[in-house]
């Protein structure tokens, strides 16, 4: 019962923050979509970091370490510490500048302008928006699973079918309603304020769990000494080529539509400086405690007994929950569950989907002057409500495939990075190359996805490397080759996107 109460209080705080931030909502699309481009360095860092992290940072990192060893930190956390800021600097910063100069709010607006092609937007929209849907579904399923795990036995009469746990369908409905509430009333501004709170909660709760679990196990030294040494190394757990190609997975952050929109909320270019430096440090704070908890779980015993905390052959995704539940108190279980919920922020994704539909389909098709600013905000809200209902309905499908689909979403987004980099830095890239790259990337991605039995084969590799390497290379080669064999872009386009100027201080 105590964890359920703590989760309830956490959700009420989100509603309260939504109400507070709505008082500052200025009413137009500029505020609803990108918070009037007014966020300072600290809020920008907290919102981008909170948005880029998912439940995987807590639950998945612990599970992955338990199963495949401590190489999890190197392959996911430290690579992200380098690649994410590289995306912020090399992609986010120039797009922020172009967005400010030309009024872009979505990536598709930039691509359409850069390649002088209205049709390219219609090709990109289903891909960029479509890959967001499973991403959101994974988050919702994660929420349902976590809350179900910590509320087991709390309501035996009310939810007899789930042995007293709050059933996932109800948790997902409540979470969807809460997120929809604050996104509906305040848009990007509400999401930013909530994300600041969520980032503090999920990093703080990870550290709290780490501290208390270490204490129960006799301190960090005793906990590490008892862990399985086979999980302290990469050998036998992950191949070197696979470990290396993990650098491509965090590239997806450069193409995530919701992170792109977060970039545009920045008040100034210098706001990015704090983000670049703090992001790697925050990666350590968020990931290291959970990786060590996963490592300790390989040898942890319930104090005073010979019974392992995590039963042999147990579900790896339950490792964090078991370590917290069996080695700390119900209050800490509730707080950690709130931390996991905080890591799963769905608001930015919903806003991005609503914004893309409104700007890239409605406004582009009917013209900017067809609707008032207030009507456009309401169109976005309506589409967001429809997407929340659709994603909620899709959570009732068979969950295994959807979870597997989540990791493939990252691969799809990362595969498009060469096109985005070429658009920003290569004058010679052409419109046919952009079309060809999008189509080839989609075909290669889908072929590999099908070859992995639609994600069911979780260790699917191509030549010992992650599939993202093949998708990424296909896109890069297509962009390069097709550009060389087609006419260069018009001088007017180049003058607009590559004005002659001094490049650095």
């Amino acid at each position: 019962m105590i964890p359920a109460i703590i989760i309830g209080v956490y959700l009420l705080v989100l509603v309260g923050l939504g109400l507070v931030s709505s008082r500052y909502f200025r009413g137009g699309t500029a505020d609803y979509f990108v918070a009037s481009r007014s966020l300072g360095p600290f809020v920008l860092f907290m919102t981008v970091f909170g948005t880029a992290m998912t439940a995987f940072a807590m639950v998945g990192s612990t599970a992955e370490t338990f199963e495949y060893g401590v190489g999890t930190f190197g392959k996911l956390a430290s690579w992200s510490a380098l690649i994410h800021p590289a995306c912020f600097f090399l992609i986010g910063l120039p797009l922020w500048s172009l967005g400010k100069r030309y009024g872009y709010v979505t990536q598709i607006e930039y691509f359409r302008d850069r390649f002088d092609s209205s049709g390219l937007g219609y090709v990109l929209f289903p891909i960029l928006a479509g890959l967001l849907v499973p991403y959101v579904i994974v988050g919702l399923l994660g929420v349902g699973s976590v809350v179900g795990g910590v509320t087991g036995g709390a309501f035996p009469e009310l939810f007899a079918g789930t042995r007293g746990a709050i059933p996932p369908w109800l948790t997902m409905a409540i979470i969807s309603a809460v997120v929809l509430f604050y996104v509906f009333i305040g848009g990007a501004r509400s999401a930013a304020l909530v994300n600041v709170f969520q980032t503090v909660v999920f990093v703080g709760m990870g550290l709290l769990a780490f501290w208390l679990i270490a204490d129960t196990l006799g301190g960090p030294v005793a906990a590490s000494a008892a862990a399985n040494p086979a999980k302290a190394v990469r050998a036998g757990n992950i191949g070197e080529a696979e470990f290396f190609t993990y650098w491509m997975i965090p590239l997806s952050v450069g193409v995530f539509p919701h992170v792109f929109q977060n970039f545009l909320t920045a008040r100034s270019a210098s706001s990015f400086k704090l983000l670049l430096v703090m992001h790697p440090l925050a990666m350590i704070l968020a990931w290291l405690p959970c990786v060590l908890i996963g490592f300790w779980a390989t040898g942890a015993l319930i104090p005073g007994t010979d019974i392992p905390v995590v039963p042999l052959g147990g579900n790896a995704n339950a490792v964090l929950g078991l370590m917290v539940a069996k080695l700390t108190s119900p209050i800490v279980s509730g707080l950690v569950a709130a931390g996991v919920l905080a890591a799963i922020s769905l608001d930015a994704q919903f806003i991005a989907i609503g914004t893309m539909f409104t700007r890239d389909i409605v406004v582009h098709h009917f013209g900017a002057n067809r609707f008032s600013d207030r009507t456009l905000v309401n169109i976005a809200r309506g589409f967001i409500v429809a997407m929340v209902l659709l994603t909620y309905a899709l959570t009732f499908l068979e969950p295994r495939q959807i979870f597997a689909l989540g990791t493939w979403c990252f691969t799809g987004y990362a595969g498009l990075v060469p096109l985005l980099l070429a658009a920003l830095y290569w004058k010679r890239v052409t419109k046919p190359a952009a079309y060809a790259a999008v189509i080839v990337t989609a075909i290669v991605w889908f072929s590999l996805f099908a070859a992995s039995n639609y994600g069911a084969d979780r260790k699917f590799l191509v030549g010992g490397m992650l599939p993202v390497a093949t998708v990424f290379a296909s896109c890069a080669i297509t962009v390069f080759v097709v550009s060389l064999f087609t006419s260069p872009p018009p001088a007017s386009t180049l003058a607009k996107f590559f004005p002659s100027r001094p490049s650095s201080a």
């Binding site: 690579w79 380098l82 590490s224 190394v233 440090l281 350590i284 100027r501």
Partner: protein
């Protein structure tokens, strides 16, 4: 060599040094707590953060710094 080139070289070096194959089978615990490859990657991540500080300090795009500057005051 310009500061920009030096910082780019620093990141290329870090990129290469991520692959710490020399410790892939070493289960030594640093300070009795951190597996050596994890301790290495924590240190590596701190160097990454330092590198991004260098970027902000020494090779921030000049045109963006100009965009951040407040518009000049109109003559009184």
């Amino acid at each position: 060599m310009s500061k920009r080139t030096l910082i780019a070289a620093y990141f290329v070096l870090l990129f290469a040094l991520h692959q710490d194959s020399w410790w892939r089978g070493d289960a030594t615990l640093v300070l009795g707590v951190l597996p050596v490859s994890v301790a290495y990657h924590v240190g590596w991540t701190l160097l990454v953060a330092f590198g991004w500080w260098l970027v902000g300090r020494f090779c921030w795009p000049r045109n963006l710094a100009a965009e951040d500057a407040p518009p000049p005051r109109p003559p009184q």
